[in-house]
Symmetry: C2
Subunit: 337 residues, 2 copies
């Protein structure tokens, strides 16, 4: 039983905690919060031991009547591995603390590749994560792109790929960020950093990316274009993607015409927090035009990379050496078909 600590019980951290708790070879030994908000109270209600992420602020919890079991330092003593779910950039600051405590650590996609020196996606490089002390699980966008690039590259050879990322402006619970009524090139300077981030996992892929932010909160959307070495028909592409893990086909003819209806499907499926962990690829969009592949996929930014974190724990803790077995185990425990 791997003992897992979650440092930062927020959007990503709370989902990883639940996903860890659903596995039979790992357990949550505790979670942290910087402040005693509703998420902190929810963690306790769910049965997770709560710790203060910032030792100097543990008094705030007492004042608010939220009982904590100690600070992050106490938690790290009980853990084999910590998943750092602090806001982007803060994970790097935490690394010396993890090293000092002698625990393995996973960082999320908001941290730079160099923080861990190894960027992870279960389908692409599980084997290379086995036994590692530090691993970075790439962002939801990079995860979503890697999941389709890897099987298509193996099947047909990706000569060149261009990806347009249409990003949700902020997460559903947030009221601080915009835009409300605008399209924002982000970054304006091209190409975007998403291509090089994909290359931290798949260094040999020739990729150019562009990204914009739009006024929606529920999902990202990707438009993928690939020049493949062996030009397949759309049916062959569909067959390859259908066999790859964590991919779900959606069809406009089923009424799944936008990110909104995909989320409605997630709610109807009874998914926790309506999470759609899989890449949702519009099957009817897959086409070969002028010798190149094009398709649309929707990516649920809050949950897409959660199963990858579970696989990363399993590889780093050497609980399973086979990528496919870990992926299947994770999926089954989380309730993915």
């Amino acid at each position: 039983m791997a003992k897992v600590a979650i440092n930062g019980y927020g959007t990503i951290g709370k989902r990883i905690a639940d996903a860890v708790a659903a596995q039979d070879d790992m357990q949550v030994v505790g979670v942290t919060k910087t402040k005693p908000d509703f998420e902190a109270r929810m963690a306790i209600e769910k049965g997770y031991e709560l710790y203060a992420a910032i030792p100097e602020k543990q008094g705030d919890f007492k004042k608010a009547g939220v009982s904590i079991a100690g600070t992050i330092h106490d938690l790290l003593k009980k853990a084999d591995i910590v998943v750092d779910c602090a806001p982007g950039g803060i994970g790097a600051e935490h690394k010396p603390m993890y090293e000092k405590a002698g625990v393995k650590a996973i960082f999320e996609g908001g941290e730079k590749h160099e923080v861990a020196g190894f960027s992870f996606n279960a389908i692409c490089n599980y084997g290379k994560a086995i036994g590692r002390d530090f691993v970075r699980v790439v962002s939801c966008n990079t995860t979503g792109i890697c999941r389709v690039l890897y099987p298509l590259d193996r099947a047909f050879g990706v000569e060149k790929t261009r990806v347009v990322l249409v990003r949700r402006a902020t997460d559903p619970g947030d009221i601080k960020k915009g835009p409300i009524n605008a399209i924002v090139p982000d970054p304006v300077k091209l190409p975007s950093h998403h291509g090089p981030d994909v290359q931290t996992v798949l260094p040999h892929i020739n990729i150019t990316t562009l990204a914009i932010k739009v006024p929606t909160t529920i999902m990202h959307l990707h438009m993928l274009n690939m020049k493949l070495k062996n030009t397949p028909g759309p049916d062959e592409v569909r067959d390859v993607l259908a066999k790859a893990p964590r991919i779900r086909f959606v069809k406009a003819s089923d009424g799944l015409t936008s990110t909104a209806s995909i989320i409605e499907l997630g709610r109807d499926l009874g998914r926790p927090r309506y999470d759609m962990w899989e890449n949702c690829i519009w099957e009817d969009s897959i086409c070969i035009d002028d010798g190149e592949l094009y398709f649309f996929q929707a990516i649920h930014q809050e949950s897409d990379a959660i199963p990858e974190n579970i696989d990363a724990i399993r590889a780093m803790m050497e609980l399973e050496n086979d990528a496919q077995k870990s992926i299947q185990k994770t999926n089954k425990a989380m309730g993915m078909l």
Copy 2:
């Protein structure tokens, strides 16, 4: 003095009326409305003679106390040329009426190419519109794409272009359409019809397009990617675009970071209805990556194609045989720098 009728004083029609009125070689002889709403009252206040677009409904105007000068049939008797600004598809139904009345007619981008048999963009094919009886001025999106493709093709040769269109969901005054919080692939089936529409103006261009709808009302955004025969540097691309008409560079470093700030610029410029008639290209986005050109441009859907309508009138009425002279005359009269 060319006598111009506007059939449909709505989003496009009211703008064309004002643009015609600003010229010294054409005049508005009347405009039509299907119903006596605020736009009908505004037309009268502005001094345009108002006619009932649907003869059977002229009684509605009297009841509402909005005085009309007659019906569309009366208006056509006074006109040399009519600009049909009816909703998409209705223009085709009107064509026999125009033929019977012996007036030339311009159709907008919502009609099929076949309705006029000739699709127009001032910079691309002004000369071929001279003396024609029927011309279709292509949509705002197609206009925006043609304006950059033509000069870049002439300068460097466009071997292949891929364009992603991120469309505003609906116009600012509308409260009927969505999405409010979703990204909609539209159409899901790829490629989109926008590529073939560009080819109605520039048949030799190899183009693939994808389009989505997002929750914003103010502008479209295009992401352009081109493989050019002679690969230029970004500065050479900028120089070519800078010389092309109806293109305005915007810079993120000037605070023009989104479609919202571009519209704020239009308001500060004192533009009528804040219209941005030019393609707004983010100068800092122009880049060559892996031998291909990429850049962002914002397109104001309500006004982008308005100056093209003026040039089309001038060509069809044989008021000016030189494209550049017509473009400059139109721009100057409308107040474009």
